[in-house]
Structure formats: structure tokens, C-alpha cells
Amino acid sequence: MAVRKLAPEELQPESFVFSPETEAFAQQQIAKYPPGRQASAVIALLGKAQEQAGGWLPRKAIEAVAARLDMPVIRVMEVATFYTMFNLEPVGKYFIQFCGTTPCVLRGAGDIKKVLERRIGDQNHVTADGTFSWLEVECLGACSNAPMVQINDDYYEDLTPENFEKLLDDLAAGRPVRKGSQIGRNRSEPFEAVKTLQDPSLYDGSQIGAWRKRFEEQAEPAETGEAEAAITSVPQEARAAKPGAGRAIESEAADTPAERAKKGETPISPTDQKEAADPSRATKGNSHTEEGARPAPQSGKSYVSTPSKPEEGSPVPASPTTPVAGTPPSQAETRRDGSDSKPDVVVDKDNKTS
């Protein structure tokens, strides 16, 4: 998330008073809620105050909303800082919200971003003439027309670096621009030719009730005593279908060597032991870091036994420090340095799973 902060003091206006329009809007919004619940209108009022203040929320506007709704200022501040749609710093006359989520990026949003960076500069930065500022936002929900941006209240879709440059030129020059798709397609219809939903029967009303009719036709042959048979097949004693459904599975106890020993069986069968010891069957995780970039191995377990000088060798013991599952205690190579006092902690030998 971009770092958001309150606008510096020198940019904050001296005062903020609700305009008659905002006030009328506030009254309308507050009337939606029961008396005493006027605080519910806080988001609506903040939005309107942002509109009145020119696309961002000065501190005084937040205080004015708090006063209007009889809320502690900090509560309104919490809302204003929580939602990223409330701009806390001044924005340009044209505030561009650039969609940087996967579908747009796949369709070339990276090039659009380059245009923004070249023409406007960094995010959250207003151009010297106050015309533009931009912000990368999460998905705006027009993925079928990707890549796209939102400028003030409108979407501009199907952008290419060329038509986007032109769009910005037109906006800067005050020329009228086309909202929506910039390549002339109608909403999110297929780009080339309309190939689907062309069956005329879809539009002549013949489909109305068709499904029900088909259902009734298919149900006809069922009048063969099947229903009675179904009823008689119902068991007399009602029983819950799946008593364990949705419940955490709780078996008696795990099939562990200890359990087996308790029952008088051989704790570990020799075949199991052999299988378990087969290195080719071991699960091995892969590092997400590159082989060479891996940090020096650290045990992270005990700093008592960690040599301070690397040349003294790897702090991680070369042999396994916990017995391989199923190894009889007599054969196990266990730690003798006292670090095995926490038997449930498994040493992450080469520090890979991070």
C-alpha cells in the first residue's frame, strides 16, 4: 500500500464550511438512518466533503464532518484514513486512478504506467500546473476492457500508450474527450465482431417458459410408481445422514509406534523402517531464493552453541540432530548438547523452508 499521510500544514486550508449543496446532501443522508445513528452517514459525508474540497480531504473538512455528525474527530479520522478512496493530500484537476492489477498488467498496463511516469511524474504528485496527479489502485472491475484508468468519476478503457497520450493531451487542452472505451467498442462487447447471443429466438419471446415446459415433458414418464417406491425405500428410523459431517475428524489415536507398542504389536515393522530410510522417497523443499544468494546457514535454535567465527565451521551439525522417524532409540543419533530438550521442535537443517 502506498504510504498515505495527511497533507502538510501549509497546504491545509484555513477553514472548511459545508456548501449549501453539501449541507442538503448531508441532511438527506442523515435522514436515511434512525435518529441518533447519524454517524452512519460518515462515509457519504466524507465523500461529499472531498468533492467539495476539490478531490481531497483537508483536516478542516474532517473536523467539519465530525462536528456535523456529532462524532469525536478521531472516529472520523479513522474512517478517512482507512479508506484509500479518501485522498488526504491535494490531487490534480484530473485525478487519474491507474489500475495496476493482473488483468490490466497482462493487457499492457505497464506501458500506460510509463506514460504516466513520463508525463506526470511520481504517484501522489501533482503537476506544476495542477492539472494531473495519478495513483496506482487495485482492480477497478473493468478487466474485460483492460488496460484502463479512472479519471475523476469516469472510466477510460482499452488504452494504448498512443490513445492514452492523446487522451491526456485533450484533457490538458480542455478538449472534449470520449468516456469509456477509447477504441470505439460498445461497453464490453467483443472487440472484433459480435459472435455470441445472436440466436433470434433469444429475442422473440419464444424462450419464455421454455425451461418449465421441458421439465414438465420430462417429468411425464415418471408416473410409473417410482415415487411410491422411493417413499417405501425410506428407512423407518430417521437417522442423521452423516453424523460426522462438518466436524473435525477425531480418530481414536494416531497409528504411532507408541500406540502399537501399547497394544503389544511390534512398534515398527522392518519393512516400514526400510522404506522410511529410503532417501529417494524423502520430500524435499526448494528454496525460493537462488542457490548462491542463500544466507549463511544458521540454526536459529541456540545461540549458545553457535560458533561466533564462521571459519570454525557450520553451526549446524552434519548429522541429523533428531532421529529419523521410526528409528529405534538405540540407533538414533540424537543431539547430546542439551538442545534436544524441546523434542517437538524440528531442526530445519539447511534453513530452507523460510
Partner: protein, 692 residues
């Protein structure tokens, strides 16, 4: 009641219990950070996860009700597990996440040794972290002179936010931004405006909020803990005094459902530095207009010389606000043996007196009783500053479902809305005569509570006001069998004990005001610092701090504060409580009763006890109710109201004003404290700002 099985143990708990409470009822311990019994449920720390049979994932037990659990397929009680491997794993996971951004600065953190996170990480965490990225860094916030912040340590439990908004009623704090960027702060980092703000540092489960005045001064394990009782106001909050060697290091609240729940006011907590500053540590005698250090013998000799040459009618004694019952009893016996009738413990001039019965000066409804009241009238009091914890109870009652609350007196912010009826006694008369609509709400209430503050009583027409209130209480049914709603709110810790002892002028005796204005030639002043004593009289001041009383004194006898002696205090409800010694008085200062005992010897009127136990035995023989520690001996409110109602009298025109002008500077200990001075200055600033 609902049945639930916790780890195989079936318990029967109220259906509205949460799983966490049910688990505790079954004896299972659930770790938690955000959950607090007295705050609303947030459910955001996730430390209290348990396994509910049938639920697909672990659930936060603090936010899941017993009545929300489904029974088993055959109607068995719901079953939860707090010790299963899933729960263990869930806790380890939550703890690992909490520690991702928590700095490993325990060695330099003031919370070390008393930290919930530290303890729970030891008990429920794992010993490693798999987090290799950088930790979050958050700028520290300024929250005023009482709370130090170290916001890197914050785990976003929001206990502080909920406390200020819910209990303290001053919604200053909030959580700004969101997700990883969330920051706890006050609006624009202004100092907090609550008189209970330091409690947030107690509530903080980590070291993000710590107590600023005492930071870096001690480690909790170095301290000797002494259970005691507070004397800053007449509420008598239960406190724990932590001391190291001779020095009191900090004062913490102690849970006492009947009085302070688990909060204390900032004054109660932070006067600690006042206990060591400005102390009188040796006797002084005034010679040629200047006080000079003297020995005890010299001081006693000077007193004896003066007393022997004065007739008992010209001797008087006044008692201050911080005196314990023991020394007041000793003083009373001493004055009786000298034949002195000029004894008064009411330095503020309040009209309360044992003459009208014990019920006439107690907070008869009791503090927990506030929660039963269904209409509240406050007369001449600002409970927020006169008795902060009483105000917290009223606010708690208001939050439970607002009863009608009205106030006659100063129109102040009490943290809850109320109907403001008027400022003066004439409003009271109007109300009593039924010309005000609020009377109907009082009459309609089952258990109306009428709180009378010292602002209404410590004035010449106080008795008339009290009488009118008593008549009003009778009228609206506030005093009856089973409910005694006429309640007097005191501001001085010693007052109720003194009135119980009968420390009021005897036959033909002078009141404190009359004595101070030159009615006597020799005045024994037992720690009364809120009264101006006119020049002329020979004043013996026995007290702890170089405050107003000591400046006017001719002989100073250095005494012990409430943390340096074992003393009995009776709070405004009449609850007898015992303060215990946590440290020793500085220098040659002695415990008050011992000073009076020694003085009585010099005066030739030896008091009949040689030890505190002997004194107490004598005290309990005369006043048995002082022996019933921690209890309230109920008084007959009906008879007291009857007695008061018969007095009548005319009202003056002045408005009722709270006696507490500056919450932070109400007694000599607080006035000696630098922290309180800072708080006071800040509060004045905030007041000016609010007035703009």
C-alpha cells in the same frame, strides 16, 4: 444456564457467557491480548483461538457465545477443546504473526517482567521466527505527560482505544490507517484529556504504552508490593503500593468490584513523586518569626508551655483531609482529656454532622448501588473531578441503558449526557415544588439516586439545601426500605471516619472556620492544608508536606503519609478500609498516632495505649464498626432523611460550585508532585482551548 464440555469437563454456565469465560469457568486458561472483561469485545488479536467440535476452523473464544454453539447430533452439549494439537498450532501461529513486527527490545523495555506478550510468548509461542524481512517501524506518539509510547511494540489490540471511548468517556484515541500501517494515536497527537488516562498503560499488554513519570526507574521484580487504599479522594480506591527500599516507586490499582473495579485516577497513581518532595522530615519551631529545625523535645516543650498557659476554651483542633481514623481517635481522646470542645474535622465548612444520624452523611446507595439506580439527580457536585471512580460507575450505568440523569450545579462535561436543570438552590426549590418536569422522572423511578456534593453543603445555607434535598428524596421515594438513594459524595478521605468518630464541635465548641478566624489562641492542626488560619493563634501543625498549613505553623511536627503508616480510612460509602505501610517516613518524621501519644505524655495527659494494636483495641471497643474492614455498615437512611427534612431554612442566591477547582492539586501531596503540576497546567491549557 447452558451446558458445555470444555476439554472433557462438563460445566454449566450462563448462556450469554463467551467460550472464553466458559473455559475459565471450567478451569482452562485461555491466552488473550485484546480481550478484557470490562471492555467491549474486539476479537482482533486471535490469541484466544479454541477448537469447537463441529466448526471447520478454530474460533476466537472471546467473541463466540456459548449460546451460539450447536449441540451434538444427539443433543449432547457443545464441546470445545483448548488443549488439542490444533489449538496449540493455532496459538503458535498467531504468536509468530504477532512477533513478526514486535521488536526484540525486551531488555530496554519498561514492560519487561510484567508483559503479557512476553509471558504468553514463553507459554504458547515457538522459539523461532521464519520472518526474514524488515520489521515495521512506527513513529512514537505524544500522548501527554503520563503515558510514554513506543509504538513499534504495539500489537494493535485496541484496548487503549476502547478504554478511552468506553470507560473514560473521552474518546481521544483511535486507530488510524489500516492493515500493516495501522497506528494507534490521539487526534493530531494531542495530550489525552481524561483524568483516567494512565489506566491505558496498565491495559497495554505490551510495552507500547508505559507510564512516563516512572519509566526506566525500576524493574517490577525489584519492588515490594503492599496492598493499600487511596486517600486522594473519598472513594478509597484499592491500590497496590510498590516500593523499593524506603522509596515508593509506583501505585497500581487493585481489583475491587465494590469500589474502583480495576481503575484508578491519574491523581491516585501519579502523586508518587509528591510523596518524596517537599517533605517535613524534622520538627520545626518558630522563633523570631522564622521556623528553625528543632528536636522533638524542643517542639513538645514549646507546645506544652503554650497549652499549659491557655484555658481549654481557647484551644482548638482541626483535622485535615488525609488523616486516618487512628490519629483522629488519638487526637479526640487528647482533646477530651484537655477538656477542649473546639474540635472540627470539616475544614471546608461542610454542614454534615453525626447529629442527624450516620445515614445523613454517607453515600447510602453505595458505589455498586449506582448500577441499580434508575434515575439520577446530582446536586452541587462534579463527580468527574470530585470522585472520578464514582463518575465511572455513573457512566457505566448510563452505558447499560441510559437512565434519566440531571444535574443542579456547575454545567460541566461529565462524559455522559445529562439534563442540566440549573445552577443554584432556587432550581432545587423549583424541582422540589414540582414545577420542573424532571420531578416526574424521579417519581416514576423505582430506585432514584440523589447525589449531594460538597458544593451544595460547604456553604452557609448548606443545611437548608441538604434539608430540601432530603425532603425531595422523601417525596420521590428515594429513601425507603431496601433502597437508600439519598447519597452524600465526599471529597476528603478522612471525612467520613471523622464524622463517625464525632469530630465535630462539642457543646459550645467552635467550628473549623471560627477557629481559623481567630476563635482560639492555640490551634492544633492535624494536616489541614485547605484552610486559611488568621494570624494570632499559636498553630501546631502536624503533617507531612511543607504546604499551606506548615507555612502558618508555629510548631511543626513531621508525620507520615498514607503510604508510610498503617491507617484506617472510611470512604464516602462508609466502607472501612485499611491502608498499609509500604515505606518509612523520611528523617525524624513519625507515625501520627505515635506523635500524639508522645505529645500527650509531655502535656501530662498520657493516652491509654502504647502501640497501634492497643489503640485499635480501644477504638474498636468504642466504635465497633471500624473493626469490620472492607465492609459497609449500612446506616438508617430513612431516619436520617426524616431528621434532615425537618430542618428547613432559606437558601442563598449563589450558584452551587464544585469544591474541586483543580483536580490535580487538591491536597498537599498532589501539590508537591511535579507530575501533577504538569497535568494541571496541561488541563488548564485544554480548558482554554475548549473555551475558544
Amino acid at each position: 444456564m447452558a451446558k458445555i464440555i470444555v476439554d472433557g469437563v462438563e460445566v454449566d454456565v450462563p448462556a450469554e457467557y463467551t467460550l472464553l469465560q466458559a473455559a475459565e469457568a471450567a478451569g482452562a486458561e485461555i491466552p488473550r491480548f485484546c480481550y478484557h472483561e470490562r471492555l467491549s469485545i474486539a476479537g482482533n488479536c486471535r490469541m484466544c483461538l479454541v477448537e469447537v467440535k463441529g466448526a471447520p476452523k478454530p474460533v476466537a473464544s472471546c467473541a463466540w457465545g456459548v449460546r451460539d454453539c450447536r449441540p451434538g447430533p444427539n443433543g449432547e452439549p457443545p464441546e470445545i477443546s483448548t488443549k488439542s494439537p490444533t489449538v496449540k498450532k493455532a496459538r503458535e501461529g498467531v504468536m509468530e504473526f504477532l512477533l513478526i513486527n514486535h521488536p526484540l527490545d525486551c531488555p530496554i523495555c519498561d514492560q519487561g517482567g510484567q508483559c503479557d506478550l512476553q509471558d504468553q510468548a514463553m507459554a504458547y509461542g515457538v522459539d523461532t521466527s521464519r520472518f526474514h524481512e524488515n520489521k515495521r517501524a512506527v513513529a512514537d506518539k505524544y500522548l501527554g505527560p503520563l503515558v510514554r509510547t513506543s509504538m513499534n511494540r504495539c500489537i494493535h489490540c485496541t484496548r487503549c482505544v476502547r478504554f478511552t471511548a468506553e470507560v473514560a468517556g473521552v474518546p481521544d484515541m483511535g486507530a488510524l490507517w489500516r492493515g500493516e500501517d495501522m497506528e494507534i494515536t490521539s487526534y493530531l497527537e494531542k495530550a489525552l484529556g481524561s483524568e483516567l488516562q494512565a489506566n491505558i498503560a496498565d491495559l497495554c499488554p505490551v510495552g507500547a504504552l508505559t507510564h512516563k513519570p516512572e519509566s526506566f526507574h525500576y524493574r517490577p521484580w525489584e519492588l515490594t508490593k503492599t496492598d493499600s487504599v487511596d486517600v486522594m479522594d473519598a472513594v478509597g480506591s484499592s491500590i497496590r503500593v510498590d516500593s523499593r527500599g524506603r522509596e515508593v516507586m509506583r501505585i497500581l490499582p487493585r481489583v475491587n468490584e465494590a469500589v474502583n473495579e480495576e481503575w484508578i485516577s491519574d491523581k491516585t497513581r501519579q502523586i508518587v513523586d509528591g510523596l518524596r518532595l517537599q517533605r517535613l522530615d524534622r520538627p520545626f519551631v518558630r522563633e523570631n518569626g522564622r521556623l528553625r529545625p528543632a528536636s522533638w523535645q524542643e517542639a513538645f516543650a514549646a507546645i506544652a508551655a503554650k497549652v499549659k498557659g491557655t484555658s481549654p476554651e481557647k484551644i482548638g483542633a482541626i483535622v485535615g483531609d488525609l488523616a486516618a481514623v487512628e490519629e483522629m481517635f488519638a487526637l479526640k481522646l487528647l482533646m477530651e482529656s484537655l477538656g477542649v470542645a473546639n474540635v472540627d474535622a470539616r475544614q471546608d465548612g461542610t454542614v454534615l454532622s453525626p447529629a442527624y444520624g450516620r445515614g445523613s452523611y454517607l453515600f447510602n446507595a453505595t458505589i455498586p448501588g449506582i448500577e441499580d439506580a434508575d434515575a439520577i439527580l446530582i446536586v452541587g457536585s462534579n463527580p468527574r473531578y470530585e470522585a472520578s471512580l464514582v463518575n465511572v460507575r455513573i457512566r457505566k450505568r448510563w452505558r447499560a441503558g441510559p437512565p434519566p440523569i440531571a444535574l443542579i450545579g456547575e454545567n460541566a462535561d461529565l462524559t455522559y449526557p445529562y439534563e442540566y436543570l440549573g445552577a443554584g438552590p432556587d432550581t432545587l426549590a423549583e424541582l422540589a415544588s414540582g414545577r420542573h418536569s424532571f420531578i416526574e422522572k424521579l417519581r416514576g423511578a423505582e430506585r432514584p439516586l440523589i447525589i449531594v456534593g460538597q458544593g451544595a453543603l460547604a456553604r452557609p445555607d448548606g443545611l437548608a439545601v441538604l434539608s430540601a434535598v432530603a425532603r425531595l428524596a422523601q417525596d420521590v421515594g428515594a429513601v425507603k426500605d431496601g433502597w437508600s438513594g439519598l447519597s452524600v459524595l465526599h471529597t476528603a478521605a478522612s471525612r467520613v471516619g471523622a464524622l463517625d468518630l464525632g469530630l465535630v464541635p462539642g457543646e459550645g465548641g467552635l467550628t473549623a472556620q471560627q477557629m481559623a478566624q481567630g476563635g482560639v489562641d492555640v490551634l492544633f492542626n492535624l494536616g489541614a492544608d485547605e484552610i486559611d488560619i488568621a494570624p494570632g493563634a499559636f498553630v501546631i501543625y502536624q503533617g507531612t508536606h511543607g504546604d499551606r498549613g506548615a507555612h502558618r505553623a508555629d510548631v511543626i511536627l513531621p508525620a507520615a503519609t498514607y503510604t508510610e503508616k498503617s491507617g484506617t480510612y472510611v470512604n464516602t460509602e462508609g466502607r472501612v478500609q485499611m491502608a498499609n505501610r509500604a515505606a518509612f517516613a523520611p528523617g525524624e518524621a513519625r507515625e501520627d498516632w505515635a506523635i500524639l501519644r508522645a505529645l500527650s505524655d509531655v502535656l501530662g495527659r498520657r493516652l491509654p495505649f502504647d502501640s497501634l494494636n492497643a489503640l485499635r483495641a480501644k477504638l474498636y471497643a468504642t466504635y465497633p464498626h471500624f473493626a469490620a474492614i472492607e465492609t459497609v455498615q449500612p446506616a438508617d437512611g430513612v431516619a436520617a432523611a426524616q431528621a434532615l427534612a425537618g430542618i428547613g431554612g432559606a437558601f442563598a442566591r449563589e450558584a452551587l460550585a464544585s469544591p474541586v477547582k483543580d483536580f490535580y492539586l487538591t491536597n498537599p501531596i498532589a501539590r508537591a508532585s511535579g507530575v501533577m503540576a504538569e497535568c494541571s497546567a496541561l488541563a488548564r491549557e485544554l480548558k482554554l482551548e475548549a473555551a475558544e
